[in-house]
């Protein structure tokens, strides 16, 4: 079959970030994430965001890829923002709104929800925009109509609430962008090798990092194979009348089982064969072995480390001296 399955988020490009040693990248990400939490000044946060965008631009990875990961946590960000704004009541009051829910806007609300519900299938993606328009409409109502209110709510926003909300949201945003930068610029196998090297000191306390890394490496090797096999099983079961689109819950369970059990069986057989092959080729879990893939530190790695560590030290100093 000609399905070229590219999994994971890795986007191939030739940038200095792509070329960094994976071990260094992992350490840098860790340091940067810690650094973000040391910032409590909006100005510095702003500078950090600016630098972040500069780095992202230099990675030669299209912005669309970064936005994809943001989209997934959009709801979380929204929720966090409003949570802070509504419940954090410290500092000066910044905004004072009286919201009147009356018969008129209540019925408009109900009407729009009904339309949304019935059109859901057609406007799935654009549904969010619809909700946004709805919210604006409702808010607008609150000011313009002079009808007897059924219920009044005083919506107050405070200074601290606004600033904390801003901080939290921006921090989460930066964290996501930094981790995306890592996964977009590093091949999964390099990431695995880097992680193995970084965690190797833990061997001393009994954590078998080399075995863990081997397990991950094998998993990475077989994900495309397993996906292809899953497609084949889907086709075989479809030829026996399985149609994932129809059927009650009971039927759906059997449909999924008809895919899962063969996948399990294939995987168990594979595990058996593969462990035989690995053993026959002299693999002994935990024993020392050399590596064909080398990770070498270059000047860019050293400079990046020095810069980031320097930033960290600076931030810590600032926090401490406050």
């Amino acid at each position: 079959m000609n399905n070229k399955i590219v999994f994971g988020q890795y986007y191939h490009a030739d940038s200095w970030i792509h070329r960094l040693d994976p071990r260094v990248k992992i350490i840098l990400i860790f340091l940067l994430m810690t650094a973000i939490f040391l910032i409590d000044d909006f100005l510095i946060l702003g500078v950090a965001i600016f630098l972040g965008f500069v780095v992202i631009a230099s990675s030669k990875v299209p912005i669309k890829r970064f936005l994809r990961s943001l989209r997934q946590i959009f709801v979380l960000l929204l929720f966090t923002f409003f949570f802070q704004i509504v419940f954090n009541r410290s500092g000066e009051m910044v905004l004072d709104l009286t919201m009147n829910i009356n018969v008129f806007n209540l019925s408009i609300l109900a009407f729009m929800l009904v339309i949304y519900g019935s059109l859901y299938k057609h406007i799935r993606k654009k549904g969010r925009w619809f909700l946004a328009i709805l919210a604006v409409f409702v808010f607008y109502q609150i000011y313009t109509l002079n009808v007897d209110p059924v219920y009044t709510y005083r919506f107050m926003v405070y200074e601290k609430g606004l600033s904390t909300a801003g901080f939290v949201v921006l921090r989460i945003l930066i964290l996501i962008l930094i981790s995306s930068l890592l996964t977009l610029s590093t091949k999964p196998t390099d990431l695995n090798n880097g992680l193995e090297a970084v965690l190797s000191p833990l061997e001393k306390i009994g954590l078998k990092t080399s075995i863990l890394a081997m397990m991950i490496a094998i998993a990475l090797r077989f994900i495309p194979t397993l996906l292809n096999e899953a497609f084949k099983i889907l086709k075989a079961q479809a030829s026996r009348g399985v149609d994932f689109r129809e059927g009650k819950l009971k039927d759906k369970i059997v449909q999924i089982v008809s895919l899962l059990i063969p996948m399990f069986i294939i995987s168990f057989k594979r595990a058996e064969d593969l462990s035989d092959a690995m053993e026959a080729r002299g693999y002994i879990p935990g024993e020392k072995r050399t590596k064909i893939n080398e990770m070498r530190m270059k000047w860019t790695d050293v400079i990046s480390l020095v810069v980031v560590i320097g930033l960290m030290v600076g931030l810590v100093y600032m926090r401490v001296s406050q």
Binding site: A238, S239, R240, G241, D243, S258, P262
Partner: protein
Amino acid sequence: MGIHLQRVSFSYDEKKSKTFRQTLDDIELSVEGKNEFIAVLGHTGSGKSTLIQHMNALLVPQSGLVSVFGKTIYPKNNEGLKEVRQNVGIVFQFPEYQLFEETVLKDIMFGPRNFGLDANQAKERAEAAAKSVGISEELLGRSPFTLSGGQMRRVAIAGVLASQPKILILDEPTVGLDPKGKRELMNLLTDLQKKTEISILIVTHDMNVVSRYIKRAVVLSEGKIVYDGPTKELFQKLELLRQYHLDLPEISKIAIDLSERFGFDLPYVPILKEELVSILEGEIGGKP
């Protein structure tokens, strides 16, 4: 009535892709719903798998039409494809991997149940199908995973036969079987056709199987059909076989070798042992 592919084209690649390959290119093919025995031949990558998946609507053509027992499938078609699969059953490579139920009987019943039969009807069909592939009654209550590889393969075939398709398609059914297993499977299929008049289409590379059991051959190359006719005649076209990297049956190779060694011309290319011997008697020895 049967399967008709009219000017079917299909590709897995995007039109603008640099490595664009037309997997199926303007295919015209008809398969009757009775008594056909067809071998689909062609080197790996010629489009055989893609072709058969168009026959039970697992894939729909990007241009052209596929008509299966009266139902027309055209590009972007998404509806009503399930009934097609009741009439045209496909057994994929290593079909034993599709088994998943608790018992052999339940697994064979899976197909008929999906096509809407109730438990009793499905059970009857399953028992009949099991019998037709030589799975004895005592195996029906066992877990399919306790069976031998060969038995599992037969259970999987029964699982497709239980829905009583009019056309049975098998993708490389003899791969991984030892010589006895191969013989048994091919005999099973031949018997099946004799009893039920089912049409059988096999994708295979095994020329000895083709020459011994199969009447009609369709050869694919680079997405196009380059031959569609009697198997016997295909093996006469040595140039064509060479051009499309197709092997000859063993007997034919022996015949050609002997003709060169002993310096006689072959009146035709034999594909069966008996044919070869009678040619030898004619050319080398005197006839009685």
